[in-house]
C-alpha cells in the first residue's frame, strides 16, 4: 500500500488523523524513544522525524533551539536513521523524515532516500525545497517509493496551489498561517478559507499544521482536513511539564 492508501485506510477508523513530531537527538535520543512510545500509545498515525540542521530557517524559536541542542549533544545523521529504524520496527505509525535540503544532498539524494526507505520512512518533508529546484530529490524519492510532501501556504496563488497539487503525492501539508512554526494560530474563518483553497487544489489527504495545540483545533479540522499536525505543542508540553503532560496532550488530540 502506498502512503495515500495507508492514510485512507486509517481514515476509515477516525475522522482526523494525527501527525506528531520530534527532533532527533532532542532532548536526547533516549527521550526520543520515550516520546515515540507515548505517540504510539496515544494512537498517533504519522510521526515527523526532524533531522536537526544548523540552519533551521523555517523553524520557530522552540525548534531552532532544539535543533541546535541536538547538534551540540553530538547528534549525527546516522543517529536519526537509527532512531527511525528502531521506531519502524517497534511501532505501527508511519514515520516521515522532516529536515532541510542540505542534509539530503550531503548524503546524496539517492543514498538518502534509499536509507530512509530502509529505515521504514514513508515520506520526506523538506520545507526549504520548492519542487522546481534542480536537485535529484524528487526523482530519488520516487525511485525508492517515498513521497515528497508538498506544502501549500496561505500566500500561494490558486495557480501555484494547482502546480503544487499536480506534484504532490502521499498527502499535502497545508500551512495554516504565515510565519514559522511555534506560534499560536487562531482557527477561524480565515483558516477555513485557506483550507478550502488547498482542498480545491488537491484530492490528496490534507494535513494541516502550524499552531495546533488543543482538541478544539482538531475538532475545527473535522470535515475540513484529514490530518492534524502537532508539533511545537507537544515539545513545549514535554519541556515545561514532562512526559505525562505530553502524553495527556496527545490523548486530548487523538
Amino acid at each position: 500500500m502506498n502512503l495515500e492508501q495507508h492514510i485512507r485506510e486509517r481514515l476509515k477508523k477516525k475522522p482526523v488523523l494525527v501527525m506528531s513530531h520530534l527532533i532527533c537527538g532532542y532532548p536526547s535520543l533516549d527521550d526520543n524513544r520515550q516520546m515515540l512510545q507515548i505517540m504510539h500509545d496515544a494512537g498517533v498515525d504519522l510521526v515527523e522525524f526532524q533531522f536537526p540542521f544548523s540552519e533551521p530557517s523555517a523553524d520557530g524559536p522552540v525548534f531552532t533551539r532544539a535543533n541546535q541542542k541536538a547538534l551540540d549533544a553530538g547528534t549525527r545523521v546516522a543517529d536519526c536513521f537509527e532512531l527511525m529504524a528502531w521506531a519502524s520496527s517497534k511501532f505501527s505509525f508511519m514515520p516521515v523524515m522532516m529536515g532541510y535540503t542540505n542534509t539530503v544532498i550531503q548524503y546524496g539524494e539517492d543514498a538518502f532516500c534509499q536509507k530512509i526507505a530502509a529505515c521504514g520512512g514513508r515520506a520526506l518533508i523538506i520545507p526549504d525545497h520548492p519542487p522546481e529546484e534542480d536537485t535529484q530529490l524528487l526523482a530519488a524519492a520516487k525511485a525508492h517509493g517515498l513521497c515528497v510532501i508538498m506544502l501549500m501556504t496561505p500566500t500561494n496563488t490558486d495557480e501555484r496551489l494547482h502546480t503544487l497539487g499536480t506534484k504532490a503525492s502521499g498527502f499535502v501539508y497545508g500551512v495554516a498561517r504565515r510565519g514559522v512554526t511555534g506560534a499560536k494560530t487562531a482557527f477561524d474563518t480565515g483558516v477555513a478559507t485557506c483550507i478550502d483553497r488547498y482542498r480545491h487544489a488537491t484530492s490528496l489527504p490534507l494535513a494541516i499544521g502550524f499552531g495546533i495545540s488543543s482538541s478544539d483545533d482538531v475538532a475545527f479540522l473535522k470535515g475540513r482536513a484529514e490530518i492534524a499536525v502537532v508539533g511545537t505543542a507537544f515539545l513545549t508540553a514535554w519541556e515545561t511539564s514532562g512526559p505525562d503532560a505530553a502524553k495527556q496532550l496527545l490523548a486530548a488530540l487523538t
Binding site: 544548523s54 540552519e55 523555517a58 524559536p61 541546535q68 545523521v77 542540505n102 520548492p130 500561494n156 510565519g179
Partner: protein, 418 residues
C-alpha cells in the same frame, strides 16, 4: 560590460544559486523578481538610483593612488576604489538604497535586515530613516558584542535591533532569524539582504546595485589609463557584494586577473577561518536559500568560522563567485588575521587611510602580489569600507594600553553615575 543577466539561467550560475525557500515565500519572491526585472529594464530607475547616490552619498567615489606603499613595495602601482567614503562608511549603502527604491515601487514600508559587522545594519537603518520605513535588524549576539558602536547607531537611527542568541550567534544565525521574520511579515516587509547571497534574485539584485562600483571604476580607469587594463582587480569576499560590484566592471577585460580575498583567520589548516573558495576549503551545499560552497561538516552542518573581520566571518559565498571560481576566472586568496592587521597598519601609517578590517584583506592580498609585478603593472583594489567602526577590535589587536585605560575610566564614571 560583462553581463550578470546573460550568465544566469533560472536563478543559477553554473551549478550555484537557486531559490531554496519555504513555499510561503514563493509569491513574495516572484513579486520581487518581477519588480526587480521591471525596474532594471526601466532606464529611469538606474538614473534615479545614480542621482540618489550622487546627492545623498558621494558617488562617484574617487580612485586613490597609494603612492607611498607602491613605492615601498617596489612593484605594481596600487589604486583604491574608495567605497569607504560613502555615506555610512562602506559599499553597503549602494545595495541598501537600491533596494529601498525597489521597496518604494513595491509599496512596502518595513525593512528587515540581517547584519554581521553591523555595516549593513547601519546602512539599512539609514535607508529606512531616510525613506521613512520601519526597520528591524537581526544580529548575532556575538556580533552585537563585537560591534557595539554600530548597534548604538542603528538604534539611534530608529531601528529595532534584535539580538540573535541561536546557533553560533553570528551572521548566519541572523540570516535565519531575518528569514523567519520575513516568512511572517512579507505583506508589508521587504528583506533587505546585505550581500550577493541568498535565494534568487538576491545574488543578482545585490550585484546589480553594487555594479555601480565597477561601472564607475571602469569609466574612471579608462580616463586615467586609456586603453590599458588593470593587471588585477582585488576585493575582499564576505558574501561577495563589494567583490561582485567591482568585478563586474572588469570581467570582460581578458588580461585582467580577478582576485578575491577571503578571511584566512588563524590559517587554513584548522577551521578558524572563512575561506570557502581559497584552496577549495568549502564544499557544495544548500543553505540560507541557495546553493554554493559552504564551510560544513560531512553531515552538512555549518561550521563555526573565524575572522578578525566580522563582515567576512560567513559560511557561504555568492553563488556567482562560486561559478566564477569553478570556471577559473576568479582566483582566491586568504590572508590571515596577522597579515591583515599588518596591512591595516601599513595603510594607516603610510597613506593616512583607515581601512575596515574586511577591506584590509583585499589590501593584504594586493601587498602580497604587488612586489612580484613590474612597476608598470597596476592593481585596483576595492576599499569597501572605513575602519572607524573597528576601533574596539583594532585597539585590541594592537594592544593599546591608553585605549584600555580610557575604557576603564569611562566604565568607572558610569558606575559612579548609577
Amino acid at each position: 560590460m560583462w553581463d550578470i543577466f546573460a550568465i544566469e539561467k533560472n536563478g543559477y550560475y553554473g551549478r550555484y544559486g537557486g531559490a531554496y525557500i519555504p513555499e510561503i515565500l514563493h509569491t513574495t519572491i516572484e513579486e520581487l523578481k518581477s519588480a526587480f526585472d521591471q525596474a532594471r529594464r526601466d532606464p529611469e530607475f538606474w538614473h534615479a538610483y545614480e542621482t540618489l547616490m550622487g546627492s545623498y552619498s558621494c558617488r562617484p567615489t574617487p580612485i586613490t593612488h597609494l603612492e607611498n606603499i607602491s613605492r615601498d613595495l617596489g612593484g605594481a602601482q596600487i589604486y583604491l576604489k574608495r567605497e569607504d567614503l560613502n555615506q555610512t562608511g562602506a559599499h553597503k549603502a549602494n545595495n541598501v538604497f537600491g533596494q529601498g527604491l525597489l521597496m518604494q515601487r513595491m509599496g512596502k514600508n518595513r525593512v528587515i535586515a540581517e547584519t554581521g559587522a553591523g555595516q549593513h545594519g547601519v546602512a539599512s537603518a539609514t535607508m529606512a530613516a531616510r525613506m521613512g520605513f520601519k526597520c528591524t535588524i537581526y544580529m548575532g549576539a556575538d556580533d552585537v558584542r563585537r560591534q557595539r558602536p554600530n548597534v548604538f547607531w542603528m538604534q539611534q537611527l530608529g531601528a529595532e535591533v534584535i539580538t540573535v542568541e541561536d546557533g553560533t550567534r553570528t551572521l548566519k544565525d541572523a540570516i535565519n532569524a531575518a528569514m523567519r521574520d520575513w516568512v511572517g511579515s512579507m505583506d508589508h516587509s521587504h528583506y533587505v539582504l546585505g550581500t550577493a547571497c541568498g535565494p534568487h534574485p538576491y545574488p543578482q539584485m545585490v550585484s546589480y546595485f553594487q555594479s555601480i562600483i565597477g561601472k564607475e571604476a571602469r569609466k574612471q580607469w579608462e580616463t586615467m589609463f586609456p586603453g590599458e587594463q588593470p593587471t588585477a582587480v582585488i576585493a575582499c569576499v564576505g558574501g561577495g557584494s563589494n567583490a561582485m560590484g567591482l568585478f563586474q566592471g572588469f570581467l570582460d577585460c581578458d588580461a585582467c586577473k580577478i582576485i578575491g580575498a577571503e578571511a584566512g583567520g588563524r590559517g587554513l589548516e584548522g577551521h578558524a577561518h572563512a575561506a570557502r573558495l581559497a584552496q577549495h576549503r568549502g564544499t557544495e551545499g544548500i543553505a540560507h536559500g541557495y546553493r554554493t560552497y559552504f564551510l560544513q561538516d560531512e553531515d552538512g552542518q555549518m561550521r563555526d568560522t573565524h575572522s578578525v573581520a566580522a563582515g567576512l566571518d560567513y559560511v557561504g559565498v555568492s553563488p556567482i563567485l562560486s561559478y566564477l571560481s569553478d570556471i577559473g576566472r576568479l582566483q582566491s586568496e586568504a590572508p590571515t588575521d596577522v597579515e591583515v592587521i599588518a596591512a591595516l597598519k601599513k595603510t594607516i601609517q603610510r597613506e593616512g587611510i583607515i581601512p575596515a578590517l574586511e577591506s584590509s584583506h583585499a589590501l593584504a592580498a594586493a601587498y602580497r602580489l604587488a612586489p612580484t609585478l613590474p612597476t608598470s603593472a597596476r592593481l585596483l583594489v576595492s576599499l569597501s569600507g572605513r575602519g572607524d567602526k573597528d576601533i574596539f577590535t583594532i585597539a585590541d589587536a594592537l594592544h593599546d594600553p591608553a585605549w584600555e585605560d580610557f575604557i576603564t575610566e569611562t566604565a568607572e564614571r558610569y558606575k559612579k553615575k548609577r
